[in-house]
């Protein structure tokens, strides 16, 4: 598939710093943990280049983007250069005054706050003391100001048995239209804290069953692009396809899971251009020194990642003889790198056969004992 002439969207990790240090954070101790932040002038200069490249929107993240004292000027730079923005935040530093400003721009696509529990115990277990109350306060400020608030719930060992209560808090008490889920993935600090945060097979199966039930109960108001809910739908579709005699699914049988490199890229806090915030180890160039359009169109590493989509799963020893190949897309390249040391291979994390061989079962078999 031909990539666009320039990225449509760019993720800007505007700071390496954060007021929290969550035990599953994908940023700290990864390749994006650069130790330096670019000065405001550099970001503003780069935004002019983004404008020239007709980039539509940026995602401001970090670290914690609000940790920067000049966050407001960065947003002004986005607006001045004809773009929209979204924010990925822990929510704890948001004030009413800042929310007023964000609202006044009219350009905020979404402001995502992380909420991991129905109360402080589960949330603060990974995210630090008092962070639940502050995050919830931030979320309520967003809603009060009618900003497009979204919530990401990252599922881990400390909250996996409280998914009912989390859904009740967010969808009934707080009144959010929806929230999204993921689970602590083997990246960044999670690699060091795996035993304390990452779900084991039984917990993952439990989360799949519970989230599927909750997604039905709340009529689609719980979503996922990764993690247990996304995975269970993906794997159930595989079984359904086989049962219904469907020989293959469009786009499957190759490493097609991620199309990000066709329309998006990211920048680390030190100005290094990277394919994705989750693949900060692949350094493509430096903003304001290397030409964005040139990097996007011709960098050999981006070409290599784009070619991933043409690699048949049957060429991998790991996939030999697998009946699910015609329904499989190979999983996230960043997780494949973290688990296998290279991107252009299937991610074991997304492998249904591995899950089954390890004793995992899909929800209809009733493995959840909460």
């Amino acid at each position: 598939m031909k990539p666009l002439p320039t990225p449509r969207s760019v993720d800007l990790n505007i700071t390496n710093r954060c007021n929290l240090k969550c035990s599953y954070c994908s940023h700290f101790s990864s390749g994006s943990d650069t130790g330096t932040d670019l000065p405001l002038e550099e970001w503003l200069r780069f935004m002019e280049e983004l404008n020239k490249c007709a980039v539509f929107d940026v995602c401001l993240s970090g670290g914690e983007p609000l940790f920067r004292k000049d966050f407001r000027q960065i947003v002004e730079g986005v607006v001045k250069n004809h773009m929209r923005f979204s924010v990925l935040s822990n929510g704890t530093l948001l004030t009413g005054e800042l929310a007023d400003f964000l609202k006044s721009t009219g350009r905020c696509n979404s402001y995502q706050v992380s909420i991991d529990g129905p109360g402080p115990e589960a949330h603060d277990a990974c995210r630090g003391k008092d962070s639940f109350e502050k995050a919830l306060r931030g979320l309520r400020i967003l809603l009060k100001h009618k900003l497009p608030a979204t919530v990401r719930v990252t599922i881990h060992k400390h909250n996996v048995r409280q998914l009912d209560e989390i859904a009740e808090l967010l969808l009934e008490d707080v009144g959010l239209p929806s929230f999204s889920t993921n689970s602590a993935a083997y990246m960044g600090l999670c690699r060091q804290n795996e035993a304390d945060v990452q779900l084991n097979m039984e917990e993952y199966s439990c989360a799949m069953e519970k989230l599927l039930k909750l997604a039905n109960k709340y009529n689609g108001r719980i979503s996922a692009n990764a993690g247990p809910l996304s995975t269970v739908r993906y794997w159930m579709n595989m079984e359904k396809s086989i049962k219904n005699g469907i020989k293959s699914r469009t786009g499957c049988g190759k490493l097609t899971s991620c199309g990000g490199v066709l329309s998006k890229m990211a920048v680390n806090a030190d100005g290094t251009m990277v394919p994705c915030s989750q693949m900060p180890h692949i350094r493509l160039g430096r903003i304001n020194q290397d030409d964005l359009r040139e990097v996007w169109q011709n960098h050999p590493e981006l070409k290599r990642l784009r070619e991933r989509r043409d690699i048949p799963l049957e060429t991998f020893e790991h996939c030999q003889g697998c009946e699910y190949i015609p329904y499989c897309r190979g999983g996230c390249p960043a997780l494949a790198y973290n688990l296998n040391g290279e991107e252009n291979v299937p991610s074991p994390d997304a492998c249904y056969r591995v899950f089954k061989e390890a004793g995992g079962k899909l929800p209809k078999l009733g493995v959840c004992r909460t």
Partner: protein, 90 residues
């Protein structure tokens, strides 16, 4: 008096493929697809060209210009005006 269309300066024009472009309004987050003819007209909207000027420039780019091309351009510009993509100077 001639009506002169001018582009909303906030609108982003993006050529994603050879014969296809997109207009993006960052204030509304709306996108609008443009075909080859639409792209040509958009590029002619510079705050100086009138509808007649745009019509006059078309044969250099396109063959078989229809007799009602002028009214079609006016209709197209009218739709863009409704969407806030352009305005008129008189």
């Amino acid at each position: 008096m001639k009506k002169i269309p001018f582009a909303n300066p906030e609108i982003v024009y993006r050529e994603d493929f050879d014969d296809w472009a997109v207009l993006f309004d960052p204030d509304t987050a709306e996108t609008y697809g443009l075909d080859e003819t639409g792209s040509f007209i958009w590029k002619q909207i510079n705050g100086k060209n009138s509808v007649a000027d745009i019509l006059q420039a078309m044969p250099a780019e396109f063959e078989n210009i229809s007799d009602d091309a002028g009214s079609q351009i006016e209709k197209f510009l009218g739709e863009m005006e409704e969407k806030g993509l352009i305005g008129y100077r008189k």
